[in-house]
C-alpha cells in the first residue's frame, strides 16, 4: 500500500499513438504512474488549468513531444511556466530532430531536460533527480508553513510527504 502511494505521477503528452505507448512503457518500467494524453490542450484540461487554476490532480512531472499540431510542446511548456499553480512542475521535452536552437529555446524556456528520440531507459533515469528535488522542496516549504500552524499537524503532514 505504502509503495503505491509514493509512486510519482507523470503526465505524458504526444499526438501519435506509438509514441504514447512507447513512453508509457518506459515510464511504467521505471515504476512511475502514467497518464497519457494526445494534445497540449488535453494536458492542460487534465491538470485543471482551465478550472480557475486549481490543480485537480497531483502531477509530478510532464513529458511532452515537441512537434504536435495546434499547441507545440514548447507552447505547452510556456503555459505551464506562466501559471502560478503549475510553474513548479518539471517539464521535459522530446523530439526526433536534433536542432540545437530548438533545444536551447526549450531549456531556456524552463524545460528540465530535452530528450532525443528514441527515448531510452537511461533518459528516463535522468528524471528521478528532478522529481526528488521538487519533493524535497515541497517538504521543506510545508514544514516551514506548518510550524506556524500547530506542532501536531506538522508531524502528521511530514509523515505523509516522506518519499523513498
Amino acid at each position: 500500500m505504502a509503495a503505491s502511494e509514493t509512486k510519482f505521477h507523470v503526465l505524458a503528452v504526444d499526438d501519435t499513438l506509438i509514441d504514447r505507448k512507447l513512453i508509457e512503457k518506459l515510464l511504467k518500467t521505471s515504476s512511475y504512474q502514467v497518464t497519457a494524453v494526445d494534445s497540449g490542450t488535453k494536458a492542460l484540461e487534465f491538470l485543471g488549468l482551465n478550472n480557475n487554476d486549481h490543480q485537480d490532480v497531483e502531477v509530478n512531472l510532464i513529458i511532452t513531444d515537441y512537434c504536435m499540431p495546434g499547441m507545440t510542446g514548447y507552447d505547452l511548456l510556456r503555459k505551464i511556466k506562466e501559471s502560478s499553480s503549475f510553474k513548479d512542475i518539471p517539464v521535459v521535452i522530446m523530439s526526433s530532430d536534433n536542432i540545437p536552437s530548438r533545444i536551447n529555446r526549450c531549456l531556456e524556456g524552463g524545460a528540465e531536460e530535452f530528450f532525443l528520440k528514441p527515448v531510452q531507459l537511461s533518459d528516463v533515469n535522468k528524471l528521478r533527480p528532478h522529481l526528488m528535488k521538487r519533493t524535497q522542496t515541497s517538504v521543506n516549504k510545508r514544514k516551514a508553513m506548518d510550524e506556524i500552524v500547530s506542532p501536531d499537524r506538522t508531524r502528521a503532514r511530514y509523515n505523509e510527504l516522506e518519499v523513498n
Partner: protein, 142 residues
C-alpha cells in the same frame, strides 16, 4: 510485438497512401506526401529505425521540390528499407523466442545493422516478455 506491430501497420498505411498520391493523374498532392513523410519520420525515430528515418529525410527534399520522379525513387528506397527492417525484426523476435537467447540475438542484430545507436529499450522489453512467456528466462547481465 505490440509496439513493433503498431509501427508496421502505420508504415504500411503511410507507404500505401504515398504510392496512391504519386499515381494521381490530375496532379500529385505533395503536401499530403510531405505529411506522410513527417509521420513516418516521427514513428521511425521513436522506435530507433534509423535507416528508415534517414530514407524519410532524403525523401523530404524531393517532396519539398515537388519532384515526382525523385519522390517515386525515394518511395522505392523507403519501401526497401522498411522491408529489410520488418524482416530483421520478425526474425529477431522468432529466433530469440525459439532460442530463448536474447542477448546473442541482439548482438547479431546490431552488428548487421551497423548503426551506432543502441537497440531501443522498448523493443528489448517486448522481446524479454515474449521469451518469458515462451518459458524462457532472462539472465540479468549488465
Amino acid at each position: 510485438m505490440e509496439v513493433a506491430s503498431l509501427f508496421f501497420e502505420d508504415c504500411e498505411k503511410l507507404i500505401n497512401n504515398m504510392a496512391i498520391a504519386l499515381e494521381q493523374k490530375q496532379g500529385v498532392d505533395f503536401k499530403q506526401i510531405d505529411e506522410c513523410i513527417h509521420q513516418l519520420k516521427g514513428s521511425s525515430s521513436s522506435i530507433g529505425a534509423m535507416r528508415v528515418k534517414n530514407a524519410c529525410i532524403a525523401f523530404r527534399s524531393f517532396s519539398g521540390a515537388q519532384n515526382r520522379e525523385g519522390c517515386l525513387r525515394c518511395l522505392q528506397q523507403l519501401s526497401h528499407e522498411y522491408s529489410l527492417l520488418k524482416n530483421k525484426l520478425q526474425t529477431l523476435f522468432r529466433v530469440s523466442v525459439a532460442s530463448r537467447c536474447l542477448y546473442v540475438c541482439l548482438v547479431i542484430f546490431c552488428r548487421e545493422n551497423e548503426h551506432a545507436e543502441p537497440f531501443p529499450d522498448v523493443l528489448v522489453f517486448q522481446l524479454e516478455q515474449q521469451i518469458v512467456a515462451a518459458g524462457g528466462s532472462i539472465p540479468r547481465v549488465h
